[in-house]
Amino acid sequence: MSAITDNARTRTIVTGAALDREVHAGTRRGEQLVGWAFLAPFLVAFVLFLVWPVVHGLYLSFTDQSLTGAGGAFIGFANYAEALADPIMWRSIGNTLWFTVASTIPLVLIALLMAVLVDRGIPGQWLWRLSFFMPFLLASTVISQIWVWIFNPQIGAANAILEAFGLEPLAWLQNPDTNMNAIIIATVWWTVGFNFLLYLAALQNIPAQQYEAASLDGAGPLRQLWSITLPQLAPVTVLIVMLQILASLKLFDQAYQMLGGVASDTTRSIVQYMYEAGFVGYRFGYSAAISYVFFALIIVIGVAQALITRRRKEQ
């Protein structure tokens, strides 16, 4: 925002406040009610469908509540003790963390590559945007179907490509050594477009004068990329990495559907384990405890990110 509009804004705030005093002197109480009236519909939904579930979920995690309605007795920390000693829970946390690292790196780097290339002003902007972003619009069911088909060991395109390069065909989704990689490849294809658009927005916000000045100083395109573009993208990169890590930690849809709903030790995410404990094993209390472990994981990683970002800024 420019200095002129900033001034205008300060001025209008002042007149607004003065007006409030003149016109509404003595209607303070009315103003209070209007505020709450505007807020009421959201607040009701917020308390009912967010605050209450957060609190009630915590309570459930200390009970042996079952989906069938049986149980419900307070059992203290038993669910948490069980979860922390449960190898499947640790395995699903491990899978989730591995997926998060292995998907975030290509999802940031490929998006950056796409955006930098598109921003060079190459004709066909519309086509690039459509190709890279369209998969993001598809439902997880659709992308799972497409990629199960591609990874089909007998007739899928993935093995046709491997064979074209003289490589051994793989049993992709059927083999525990490769099924998570198949899910990561599908996920990168599916969601990279969102990061690509964020990078593109940030790139197009870099003032052209900086490039012009660098150009006059004799800096070539690669030098400009290294000394202007990449440093200017640092803040948006922090944002994208943060959003991506939080999104990847929530892995469920594609991992569940690409394996046809079958649980696999190498692809079971923490959300999937939560689902299995609650809706397959009928153990609501235990599932709620796992969801709080998941919640804790998100908060720890979020706080760690915030601390790292702040330290970077201070330096």
Binding site: T12, T15, L19, V23, Q32, L33, V34, G35, W36, F38, L39, F42, A45, F46, L50, W52, P53, V54, H56, G57, L60, Q65, M114, L117, V118, G121, I122, W128, R129, S131, F133, M134, P135, L137, L138, A139, S140, T141, V142, Q145, I146, W149, I155, A157, W189, F194, L197, A201, Q204, N205, A208, Y211, P221, D253, V271, A288, S291, Y292, F294, G302
Partner: protein, 296 residues
């Protein structure tokens, strides 16, 4: 913010203007080739799915890597899918529930955002902090207590049970509040001097001015609701009430080996959103920029 989105929706204006990029320099040709390879890589899976949808089951299962099957293109997979009947119903369910989620989310978020931005009431500050803090709560972590709640309210296996838990979007309140903060206050003051009450000012002045951001938020909420899988999958088990993603998932589990039909379903399910994208491309691109920067 405004500058970010405006330049983003019109990148063609900048095309070719980047200094140091000669019209046909070797780097530009290299960039073009890499982009082309990436675009092919990104389009190919989808084109392959479309091609398969137009094959007979025999051709689809033959494994021959050809675009057109030996028997030539046919729409029999589509006919087979559409004759099952439920697909239309699921599409309708998806449309109505996603539209309801969108309207309710945008309405309650816009009212709340306006209250946080412009109205003076006690507790405004700390309440806003609570709402913003709620952005970090992953919806997936709430499936157990929410399902329990739907059991209590008798909303399991109903569309309201599917819709209501999806309408709380603290991030959207945050984005809309940031926008309302920038609307010039003189316009509102003039109307208020003329005797308009707060709601009238909100309805006839603020909302019309906010049309672009409302459109971006609405499209984003709609896409999210249309594609949502986990919650509709848990709360709906009646086949006639299912949304498209959940309905298709059940069919695939049942007839997973009919490849042409599975791909025809994928294409049919993707079609509405591709049409939405082609129509609302600008708002969607803008929406990613604003909602992304808003910190969803």
């Amino acid at each position: 913010m405004a500058t970010v989105t405006e330049t983003l929706v019109n990148p063609g204006v900048r095309a070719g203007r980047k200094p140091g990029a000669k019209p046909f320099g070797p780097l530009r040709i290299l960039a073009f080739v890499i982009l082309l390879l990436l675009a092919v890589g990104w389009l190919l899976p989808f084109l392959w799915a479309i091609a398969t949808a137009f094959k007979t089951e025999t051709d689809a299962a033959s494994g021959e890597p050809t675009w057109i099957g030996a028997t030539g293109p046919t729409t029999e997979a589509f006919t087979a899918i559409l004759s099952q009947g439920n697909v239309y119903l699921w599409a309708l369910n998806s449309l109505w529930t996603a539209a309801a989620v969108t309207v309710l989310t945008v309405a309650i978020s816009a009212l709340a955002a306006y209250a946080f931005s412009r109205l003076d009431f006690r507790g405004r500050r700390w309440l806003f902090v609570v709402v913003i803090a709620a952005i970090v709560v992953p919806p997936q972590a709430l499936i157990i207590p929410l399902f329990y709640q739907m059991l209590v309210f008798n909303l399991v296996d109903t569309h309201w049970g599917l819709i209501l838990p999806q309408i709380v979007a603290p991030a959207m309140v945050f984005i809309l509040k940031k926008f309302f903060d920038q609307v010039p206050i003189e316009l509102e003051d003039a109307a208020r001097v003329d005797g308009a009450n707060r709601f009238r000012v909100f309805w006839s002045i603020v909302l019309p001015l906010s049309r672009p951001i409302l459109a971006s938020v609405a499209i984003f909420v709609f896409i999210g609701a249309w594609n949502n899988f986990l919650w509709p999958f848990l709360v709906i088990s009646d086949t006639t009430l299912m949304t498209l993603p959940v309905g298709l998932q059940t069919v695939i589990s049942a007839y997973g080996v009919q490849y042409a039909q599975v791909m025809a379903q994928a294409v049919l399910a993707a079609l509405p959103l591709i049409v939405v994208f082609l129509i609302f491309q600008k708002q969607i691109v803008k929406g990613v920029a604003t909602t992304g920067f808003g910190g969803t």
